[in-house]
Assembly symmetry: C2
Homo-oligomer: 378 residues x 2
């Protein structure tokens, strides 16, 4: 009653288990007649090769992994929430998953995914690590120390995190041009809209992405001859709720209020939009708002959010390429890819609103071309 094994098939077909194995691993090395006998027996018995056994014997799994934090906004989990529908909008990690799955499949690998809650990642990662030939990790999903140990044994590529940690600089990295993207975005705010009093709503200091974006923000000031801010004007979490909080704090603060706010990501910016609306602050007239990420939700809100679009799917694809390359040559130099981003000008920064409706060419007026400027890391 147990699942049939090579032995069963071999017995049934009147051959040795080696031959059964060959039928699956190297069909051409088995005579056609024999092969048919084996295949027939396998079909009859309902034989499915054990991935575990195969993996054990051949010392590889043909599976790639992805560990990502469970980013879901808790709000979005609540079906009664106003944000209910946002959950349907594709988030960061979904895109990466898609990209990795495609690329992995192309290379003959399957994809194992595991989101990690704040709680017990220790177990999670080791678990994943033990099952795959290599895997990608979204930055800060896994404690450095643990990654260090694991990466000694199998290829790991870090996603969306700069090579900051010395202990991890032997890892391959894929990231987007955070610095240049925010630089271009801020430059747009300054040069095209004439803003001089800008604020930056950042995330925790240990968010490499956020920090890089802030540096781009600084650089734009430097470039324009404006006083360079030393640090983000406010720091909060990366959710919509936190974005509301951030903008509230900014506005309630005494002193001059800014004329434009750059948020560390789109979710925060979207949250801020709600809060601003609630307060009667007009966007972009009273305050310009920009985000970063290019989540679909950004186009649905009013005003539509100006942002920087990241090629998230490509992030996943590149991760797989790096993994495969390293699997092929363990000794190669650590690689680091920086993917180009593009500024998406919509109305929240003061750019003219564009028609988001059906037109002659497609259902969406917001084509990928106009209003964008591609930017590559220098």
């Amino acid at each position: 009653m147990n699942a049939p094994t090579v032995y069963d098939v071999a017995g049934q077909a009147g051959v040795s288990i080696a031959t059964v194995s060959r039928v699956y691993r190297a069909p051409d090395s088995v005579r056609a007649g024999t092969r048919e006998k084996v295949l027939e027996a396998a079909r009859e018995l309902g034989y499915v090769p054990s991935g575990n056994a195969r993996g054990l014997a051949s010392r590889n799994t043909r599976v790639l992994g992805l560990c990502f934090p469970d980013y879901a906004d808790p709000d979005a989990e609540d079906p009664d929430s106003d944000y209910g529908d946002d959950a349907e909008l594709m988030l960061y990690s979904d895109e990466i998953i898609r990209g990795m799955e495609r690329a992995a499949r192309r290379h003959g690998y399957a994809l194992l995914i595991a989101a990690s809650l704040a709680e017990g990642p220790r177990n999670l990662v080791a678990d994943v690590a033990g099952r795959v030939d290599g895997f990608a990790v979204l930055a800060r999903t896994v404690p450095t120390e643990e990654l260090e140990v694991i990466s000694r044994r199998l290829p790991v590529v870090m996603l969306a995190g700069p090579r900051e940690d010395a202990a991890l600089d032997h890892l391959d990295h894929v990231e987007v041009a955070n610095f240049d993207g925010e630089l271009a975005l801020t430059r747009h705010l300054i040069a095209d809209h004439g803003h001089t009093r800008l604020a930056f709503a950042g995330s925790a200091e240990d968010s490499p992405d956020g920090e890089a974006r802030f540096r781009g923000f600084q650089a734009a000031h430097l470039e324009a001859g404006l006083p360079v801010p030393e640090r983000p004007d406010v720091r909060t979490g990366l959710t919509q709720a936190e974005g509301e909080r951030a903008v509230a704090e900014l506005l309630d603060r005494e002193g001059e209020t800014p004329h434009a706010v750059a948020f560390a990501n789109d979710q925060m910016a979207v949250g801020a939009l709600s809060e601003l609306r609630r307060r009667g602050v007009r966007v972009p007239e009273d305050l310009a708002v920009v985000g970063f990420d290019g989540i679909p939700l950004g186009r649905l809100v009013t005003p539509a959010l100006t942002t920087v679009r990241q090629p998230m799917r490509r992030l996943g694809e590149e991760a797989v390429e790096l993994l495969v390359a390293r699997l092929g040559d363990r000794g190669r130099e650590p690689a680091s890819k920086v993917l180009p981003v593009s500024v998406v000008r919509r109305s929240s920064c003061g750019c003219p609103a564009r028609d988001d409706s059906v037109d002659g060419s497609g259902p969406l007026g917001d084509g990928p071309v106009d209003g964008e400027a591609s930017v590559t890391q220098s």
Copy 2:
């Protein structure tokens, strides 16, 4: 230079491999002092337990799988396409993946995903099947015959496909209330908007979902005392491009043109919207259009698409529950869950347009509550 194994750790810690194993599988059965020694050695060596070996020895993988077709609209793959951005919108399978991942994690499983192209699914499924303890399959992703063989050896749940195939009726199923959803939707068209000349744009006959929806369409006619259509007025593929084709065929056909068209899914309906716009046909004045699925894109188009929303994430969650349940009791009766759907009234059917902009409560006016009616399979 090979990855360290239990033997290495055991040697380093001065214990037997059995003890090392116990430290990981049943920590409490090892004295605290010993445990620490082992853990220390493991850390030092960079030991990561081999999932393959563990799986082989314990006869289970703690991994659940998901096989789905690669639904992506080929158009969406073309970065120059007008649909470029649609790719960012969450598609059917992404939601299922999310749902399954969550539920699987809750039960201590990882998730292995594999999309299958039209080409070599044979290999794919066997590959997945050999690596997991059980898996879910989107209907029609895998040939019946193959599924039949595999499902004899491990739990398989069929997603979004009715239990039509006798060879597969021992499988657990999860589906949505296609019939009742389309019934409610069509009823809305007839009763609330007074339509009497409706058309149905269906998909291939072997699409169980599409057929069930059509039967709901028929039922609404029957209920209203209208002549019951024998078959869909047109059948095409499920993509946007095919939707354009379908509506074109419908309009070019001689005889009376319908006043409302129900499409088998949202993607087709969205495509139709483009074609109608191109032809100068006003929606909903000249022709009402409704879809099915509730994809986010449906809300972005103009006019916003009236549709039936499926709880796709729950589909994934329920699949895992069923899998886990069967893993716990192989002998249980085949279960079949039907998830409720809800009609989402937007403007493409003639319902008043609703404000999709920021309001006091959230960035989206299209809350999950108003304009919907929940429907459960009878």
